[in-house]
Each structure stands twice: as structure tokens, then as C-alpha cells.
């Protein structure tokens, strides 16, 4: 187990090393193609936000159902 966690930590270290290159690649993709992916990102954010809200309502309703 210890070995496993060490390996994982080492992997995370390397991930951090790669992060900068990856990040700019993502930024390049978003800025390319006439910036249509910016719109896709925003629509995805809106959907994630509303779905998260849906889950919070679900949790409140579950509590109510347990009580009744």
C-alpha cells in the first residue's frame, strides 16, 4: 500500500510538470476554430450548474420522503 501511494504521489508530481504544456494546449484549442469552443464551454458550465442544482433539490426531497 505504501509503495502504491508513493507511486501515485510521484505520478502526481510528473502531472504537475506536464500541466503547463497541457494547459496552453487546451487554451489554444478553445481560442482556435473561430472561438466556437468558448461557447461550448459556457453551455457546458450552465448545464453543470443547473444539474448540480437538480441534485441539491433531490437531496432535500429525499430527506422529506424519509420523514413522511
Amino acid at each position: 500500500m505504501k509503495k502504491f501511494t508513493t507511486t501515485l504521489l510521484m505520478l502526481m508530481l510528473t502531472l504537475q510538470l506536464f500541466a503547463q504544456g497541457e494547459g496552453s494546449a487546451i487554451a489554444d484549442t478553445l481560442a482556435g476554430s473561430e472561438k466556437i469552443y468558448v461557447v461550448v464551454t459556457c453551455v457546458a458550465i450552465i448545464l453543470i450548474g443547473l444539474l448540480a442544482f437538480l441534485f441539491s433539490i433531490e437531496r432535500r426531497l429525499k430527506k422529506l420522503e424519509k420523514k413522511s
Binding site: K35, V38, C42, V43, G49, L50, L64
Partner: protein
């Protein structure tokens, strides 16, 4: 509140505006390019938020004249729903700014004041949690809400116009409608606004109904 025709209308309008928002043609623009399509998603978030906060302030005024607890819980639930849309508007605005203005948060006046307007409403919710007695809480928060609403309007629509801003419609920049919101875009933009306002109202009614059930238990 319990009829479903306007919920279906809202769903259809949002569906239409999403599909047409991606597929309909837009005028060729420098810097923005295709990201002008964000107009159909980012701006309606703010419209929905403003409508929900308007409902909230109306309910607060009603509470002060009637002292009915239902008005108070309507006021707080519409703020809860409005804050969701405000946060979505801020985040989508930051993403859009990252690729058109160069930075996600460039401390532009519009961004700063929008964030402060959000904080005003966070303060409303925190103020409510701080007061235990139900009637006192309702009365104080209703009065706070009546003050917060005009502050929010001033922060979003008056102050950014008085100084330099990158945001369209502020700091001497013309709004989108001045030069590039042509008739094709209007055909998508207005239904998008109405649709998202209806969805926002729907979310508010759901929150209100759940909280009413929670109170009855």
C-alpha cells in the same frame, strides 16, 4: 405557479435558442468571431437573475404590508434561484473574457461590480441565517432586500457606464444592439431571454414548494 404551459413554453424556447444559437448564422466580427454566440447563453443568465431579484423585492414589499410568512419565504427562495443564475453569468462571463479580453478576471469594472452585486445577495442570505426569531428575521431581511435591489441595479447598469470598461454597453462602448445585433440574431436572442427567464421562474417555484413542504413537517 402550478400550471404547466409556461414551463413547456420555457423549455421549447430554451431548446430553440440553444439549437439556433449554434446553427443560425452570425455576422462576421473581429476578435469575437463565433464566440458572439455566447450572447444567447451568457446574457439571458443575467436577465433571469434580474427578474428573480425583482420578484424577491416585490415579495419583500408585500411581506412588509401583510406580515404573511409566505411572502417572506417567496422572497428568499427567489433570491436563492437568482444567485444560481448570477454565478452562472459570472463564470460564463469569465470564460468568455479569457478568450476575448485576454484574461478571465481583468478587474474590469463590470466584472467587479457584478461580483459585488452577488456579494450583496450573499449578505442577504447570511443576514437571514444570523437571526433566530422568525418575524424579526423576515422583517429585517425584507428591509435589507429593498435596499439591496436598487444597489444591485446601480452596480450593474449605472456605475460601469461611468468609467472605462471592456464590456459592451459600458464605458462608452456601444451595446451589442448598436452595431451587430442584426435581425437574425434578435430572432434567437429575444426567445433565449424569455426562455431562460421562464426556466428561472420555474426553478424559483420548485424551491418555494420544497421549502413550504419542509416547513409543514
Amino acid at each position: 405557479m402550478y400550471k404547466s404551459w409556461w414551463k413547456i413554453l420555457g423549455a421549447v424556447l430554451v431548446m430553440y435558442s440553444t439549437i439556433a444559437g449554434f446553427l443560425a448564422s452570425v455576422p462576421p466580427l473581429p476578435i469575437l468571431h463565433q464566440s458572439i454566440r455566447n450572447l444567447y447563453f451568457h446574457v439571458p443568465m443575467w436577465f433571469a437573475m434580474i427578474v428573480l431579484f425583482t420578484i424577491s423585492v416585490i415579495q419583500s414589499i408585500k411581506y412588509l404590508s401583510s406580515s404573511n410568512q409566505i411572502n417572506d419565504s417567496k422572497a428568499v427562495q427567489s433570491v436563492n434561484a437568482g444567485i444560481i443564475f448570477g454565478i452562472l453569468g459570472l463564470v460564463t462571463g469569465a470564460v468568455w473574457a479569457r478568450f476575448t479580453w485576454g484574461q478571465a478576471w481583468s478587474f474590469d469594472v463590470k466584472q467587479n461590480f457584478a461580483a459585488i452585486a452577488m456579494l450583496l445577495y450573499f449578505a442577504y442570505l447570511i443576514l437571514r441565517n444570523a437571526i433566530d426569531e422568525e418575524q424579526k428575521r423576515a422583517k429585517i431581511s425584507a428591509i435589507y432586500n429593498i435596499f439591496a435591489f436598487p444597489m444591485m441595479v446601480v452596480l450593474l447598469f449605472v456605475l460601469p457606464r461611468l468609467s472605462d470598461s471592456l464590456h459592451p454597453g459600458n464605458g462608452g462602448n456601444p451595446g451589442f444592439n448598436a452595431y451587430d445585433l442584426d435581425s437574425r440574431m434578435r430572432m434567437v436572442f429575444y426567445p433565449a431571454c424569455l426562455g431562460w427567464i421562464l426556466i428561472g421562474y420555474w426553478i424559483y417555484t420548485i424551491l418555494f414548494r420544497v421549502s413550504a413542504l419542509e416547513k409543514n413537517k
